[in-house]
């Protein structure tokens, strides 16, 4: 023990004597440990950790497929959820779930995200309320559905953690709802939500609305039931349903029921980018290890003589090994400590910039497992390479070390060069990934969305109070709520266009690139091939003036006007993609179609064609879209768009004044809507960029370290060369050439690897191939410049070597 403390003290002193080496090594270690731990913690939380539901193995996620269209994971209809699946014998419990928003009225109107569920949902997940109860089957029906469950965090935030909150009433969508319970701490299904309420079906919906597909189902299998059996039995059930209701499930749909492990529900979209990131960060860790190995190798070569002397005066090999081990341990410990701090810091930075689409990032914690892993890896690297000099010390060739006439050949030079080349290769690989994603991102950002993004403010109105009740929400409904909506929306647009600075104002239910509704319809005069179902396309609702406000060009015909209201004949506007799809090269003005629903017997006439907008997202081609007049068929919500110099506050105020009981939501510039759409791409890009930068930094460090070391080793040789006439420029060239040969080899290997691995990220690219020559040229130039700078510094130092050093004997 005492000798250990002595060793420790000696090790610390030794490391402090060479601060440059120590700082570089500890920094490399901590960067590797920190980045790996941060990313792996996210990976673990999102993909591996328990979702927080009881006995997760027995939970399945049930959705619909329509093989005829290649659709998967579509929604289920109320009769399927409430009747067919609830009585499915392999399920212990099952419940439907869908996302909603509601306006909560306290002292002001506020929009809240709500999870709407059916009875059985919480039972299936195995969640029991802390207070009160969950929903009963009776509460699935409209009329009984004015009940609500509160999340634990909302209970604390909004109700001061008052245990007597059960039984109290809150106003959601203008109706009083009774709080029947508080959910347990930490529960979330797909993210934090304050309130959970019944979906609230009408009796008609429960019995007949099989075309109304919007619900996903979670179910708990009975003990011992396998996924295999479940799938088999579900497809039998689906076959019976299709047989019993041939009108709702035409053969060409290829309709069926899917059951998947509940985890797939949350990870299917994030798995791939996370795996790419995980791979990237492991490469960074590898570079860090190579770097540390290299630094230690250089150090060991420098100390070879010291150990030879020690060995010569009788130090046992074990003694030397112990000292080196202690030194390695001290370094690894310092690196690990700093690494943990770095991991915590970068994790919080990471979470702050992560898009909300990734589930439960709020619950990411530093994973001890991962931390242990990365510390172990770097620790082992450190120790192995710390030990090398001890192993070498016994092999020192005394004869050649005494013959000091010849200078220059350095021990381990080849291994060090290899390690540098490997670092460069890995950096190129990462840089290629980051570069390609950056290029895709650049392409995406420069894609014209089909309208003018800058200089417009938007706000969302989603009136939900009793005045605006839409019943089942069908297009063409006749409840008084429909008329109230028309008035509300028209007043809102009027108020917006009256704002000082407003040049044009209009509205749409969902502004691109937010997806709209898919609607099946029948086009007069469009011949279906035999067996081909009626087309389903994106349906959007716009107010007059919308296209002008968006600067989305009108190609032929006319825009909607105030006259296109409920009393006028139904009209429709289509985009150019629609024309191309159904009537290429033809005049479509005056053509008619009919929505494919029970009460939709009215023909709608095309009055105009507008330019394409990137409705389905910037990275996808513009889909065929048709626009209904929101004055004829008011939608569930309206995004108001005002072109001109209008502040968010002014717009909010003007819209709130139209109906103070309804919240004005998501007031933001139009470009922010697009930025949100890009966030999912930007996040991995940013991370990959950070990793590539780290890799580059570490490689630069490696190149610098090895070149510096080589120059130091060759001081006498270089001095001699200068003495016999090498010019300073010649020396710089020689050192650079030596280092760039190694870098070049790594560069070629890395580029080859990146080209081979290009398809790993092909799915995340847009508008560029994984083999984009421009990207490769750019990263090679970047790395080349970095290498020139990193080896240029020691090269310049070499040129200043005093040739006198060659003259003086040792």
């Amino acid at each position: 023990m005492e000798t250990f403390i002595k060793d420790l003290r000696f090790a610390v002193r030794g490391l402090r004597r060479t601060p440059g080496f120590t700082i570089a090594a500890v920094l490399a270690l901590s960067l590797g440990i920190g980045a790996t731990t941060a990313i792996f913690s996210v990976f673990h939380a999102v993909l591996l950790r328990s979702l927080g539901f009881g006995d997760e193995q027995r939970l399945v996620w049930v959705t619909a497929e329509q093989r005829g269209y290649g659709w998967k994971h579509g929604g289920l209809s109320p009769p399927e959820v409430v009747t067919d699946l609830r009585t499915f014998p392999l399920f212990e419990a099952s419940g439907g779930v869908t996302r909603q928003t509601a306006s909560l009225f306290t002292d002001r109107a506020e929009r809240v995200d709500i999870l709407a569920v059916t009875s059985g949902f919480f039972e299936a997940l195995g969640v029991q309320p802390t207070f009160g109860r969950t929903f009963t089957p009776a509460e699935d029906l409209k009329g009984n559905d004015a009940v609500v469950l509160v999340s634990a965090s909302a209970w604390r935030r909004r109700f001061g953690a008052d245990p007597s909150v059960v039984g109290r009433s809150i106003t959601l969508d203008g109706r009083p709802h009774q709080i029947i319970g508080v959910l347990p701490e930490g529960f979330s299904y797909d993210g934090q939500r304050d309130f959970y309420r019944p979906i609230g079906f009408s009796q008609e919906q429960v019995s007949n609305a099989r075309g109304y597909r919007f619900i996903e189902v979670v179910a708990r299998l009975k003990p011992g039931v396998t996924l295999e059996t479940t799938r088999k039995e579900l497809s039998a059930l689906a076959a019976r349903i299709v047989q019993d209701h041939p009108n709702n499930y035409p053969k060409e749909f290829g309709w069926g029921l899917l059951a998947d492990p509940i985890r797939d529900r949350f990870t299917s979209t994030t798995r791939e980018p996370l795996l790419v990131l995980l791979g990237a960060v492991l490469l960074v860790l590898l570079i860090a290890c190579a770097n540390v190995a290299n630094l230690l190798l250089a150090r060991s070569a420098q100390r070879g003589r010291e150990f030879a002397v020690r060995a010569a005066i009788g130090a046992s090999r074990a003694r030397i090994i112990r000292q080196l081990l202690t030194e390695g341990l001290v370094m690894a410990a310092a690196g690990a400590t700093l690494g943990v701090m770095l991991a915590m810091w970068s994790l919080s930075a990471l979470l702050a910039s992560a898009p909300r689409q990734i589930r439960d990032l709020a619950n990411v914690r530093l994973s001890a497992l991962v931390l242990a892993f990365s510390i172990a890896l770097t620790g082992v690297t450190t120790l192995i390479f710390a030990l090398l000099p001890a192993l070498r010390a016994s092999k020192v060739d005394l004869v050649s070390s005494l013959k000091d006439g010849a200078h220059g050949s350095a021990h381990g030079g080849r291994l060090r060069s290899f390690l540098v080349a490997a670092q460069v290769a890995i950096s190129i690989f990462l840089l290629a990934g980051a570069g390609l994603m950056l290029r895709s991102f650049g392409r995406l950002v420069s894609v014209s969305p089909g309208f003018e993004v800058e200089g417009a403010m938007t706000a969302v109105l989603a009136p939900a109070g009793p005045t605006y009740d839409m019943g089942d929400g069908d297009v063409g409904g006749t409840l008084p709520g429909y008329a109230a909506r028309r008035r509300y929306f028209a007043d809102a647009i009027r108020a917006a266009s009256a704002l000082p600075g407003a040049q044009a104002a209009g509205g749409i239910d969902r502004v691109p690139t937010v997806r709209g509704w898919g609607q099946t319809y029948f086009i007069e005069g469009f011949e279906l091939r035999p067996g081909e179902p009626n087309p389903t396309d994106e349906m959007r609702f716009v107010m007059p003036g919308y296209f002008a406000a968006m600067r989305q060009p009108l190609i032929t015909g006319r825009d909607f006007t105030a006259a296109d209201d409920a009393k006028a004949g139904p009209v429709v506007i289509v985009n150019q993609a629609w024309v191309r799809r159904y009537f290429p090269g033809r005049d479509v003005i005056g053509k008619r179609f009919r929505l494919d629903e029970l009460n939709q017997t009215r023909w709608r006439t095309i009055v105009g064609v507008v330019g394409d907008a990137k409705d389905a997202g910037l990275d996808k081609p513009a889909p065929p879209v048709f626009y209904l007049s929101a004055l004829q068929d008011p939608p569930d919500r309206l995004t108001v768009v005002v072109r001109g110099n209008v502040s968010a506050a002014a717009l909010r105020e003007a819209l709130a004044a139209v109906d103070p009981s309804e919240p004005v939501d998501q007031v933001r510039p139009l470009e922010d809507v697009l930025a949100t759409a890009l966030a999912v791409r930007r996040f991995p890009l940013q991370l990959l960029g950070v990793f590539a930068a780290l890799a580059l930094l570490l490689s630069a460090l490696g190149i610098y370290g090895v070149t510096s070391y080589a120059v130091a080793q060759r001081t006498r040789e270089i001095g001699l060369r200068i003495a016999v006439g090498a010019s300073p420029a010649g020396v710089v060239r020689m050192v650079l050439a030596g280092s760039l040969r190694v870098v070049g080899a790594g560069l070629l290997a890395g580029a080859a690897g990146a080209l081979a691995g290009g398809r790993l990220i092909a799915a995340q690219l847009y508008g560029t191939t994984p083999y984009d020559p421009l990207t490769y040229a750019a990263i090679c130039i970047v790395l080349g410049l970095v290498a020139v700078v990193a080896s240029g510094v020691p090269a310049l130092r070499a040129a200043r070597i005093d040739p006198m050093d060659a003259l003086r004997t040792e």
Binding site: S400, K403, D404, G405, A406, H407, G408, S409, R716, E717, L720, R721, I722, A723, V724, G725, A726, S727, P728, A729, G730, D802, P803, M804, A806, L807, R808, T809, E810
Partner: protein, 231 residues
């Protein structure tokens, strides 16, 4: 009278380290004529190596004037000094100073390469030089495979290969046993006979006597000159 190759007037060299001034050389007046063999002697620390370094343009004097072949060299740029060294000066060091990663041939070739000489010409000169020192049979060997005496002979070959105006040697026998030392001195004598101008630092009075002239340094000053400067 032979022409003057080197002329030092009132040269001084002051080293500044940690606020301490070391007057390594003071008030040095020295003229070296073509074909002379000059020995520089003196006790350790007297400034012999410093003087040789200045003569060889490896270092600069802090005062005085210095001409080689009638041209002042004090204010040359590092690149020009490298050029002059390369073209006009051949070095032989105490510790041989061959580059371990290069063969004997490549070591001798090095100054010629820096001169930008054509490969064929280089090959001819290297072979000639190795012949002169009796090492042509070892041209493919690495320096580590040679004895100390052999290494020094290679170093001599490197110094003479470029046909320099002046050969500078700093204790060329310092690391050799007497037999090898004598062989190297014999080599230098032969070079002198053949017309080379030699400036040599040595501790050994016996070797100093071989030179045509001897300069004694003490504490950075020339304290004695023997022999004729007329050669």
């Amino acid at each position: 009278m032979a022409e003057t190759l080197i002329e030092l007037q009132n040269v001084e060299k002051v080293f500044l380290t940690d606020e301490v001034e070391t007057h390594a050389l003071s008030n040095i007046h020295l003229t070296v004529k073509k074909g002379e063999w000059l020995a520089i002697v003196g006790p350790s620390g007297s400034g012999k190596t410093t003087l040789l370094a200045i003569l060889g343009l490896l270092d600069t004097a802090t005062g005085g004037s210095f001409m080689i072949d009638g041209k002042p060299v004090r204010d040359l740029s590092p690149a020009d000094r490298a050029h002059v060294r390369n073209k006009h000066i051949g070095f032989i060091f105490q510790s041989f100073n061959l580059i371990g990663d290069l063969t004997v041939f490549e070591n001798v070739e090095l100054p010629l390469t820096y001169r930008g000489m054509a490969p064929a010409e280089r090959k001819k000169r290297v072979e000639e030089a190795l012949n002169r020192v009796g090492m042509s049979h070892r041209s493919r060997h690495m320096p580590g495979q040679l004895s100390g005496g052999q290494q020094q002979r290679v170093a001599v070959a490197r110094a003479v290969a470029g046909d320099p105006l002046i050969l500078l040697a700093d204790e060329p026998t310092g690391n050799l046993d007497s037999k090898n030392g004598q062989a190297v001195m014999k080599l230098l004598s032969e070079l002198h006979q053949a017309g080379s101008t030699l400036i040599m630092v040595t501790h050994d009075p016996a070797y100093a006597r071989l030179a045509t002239r001897t300069v004694s340094l003490f504490d950075g000053r020339i304290v004695e000159e023997t022999g004729s400067s007329a050669a």
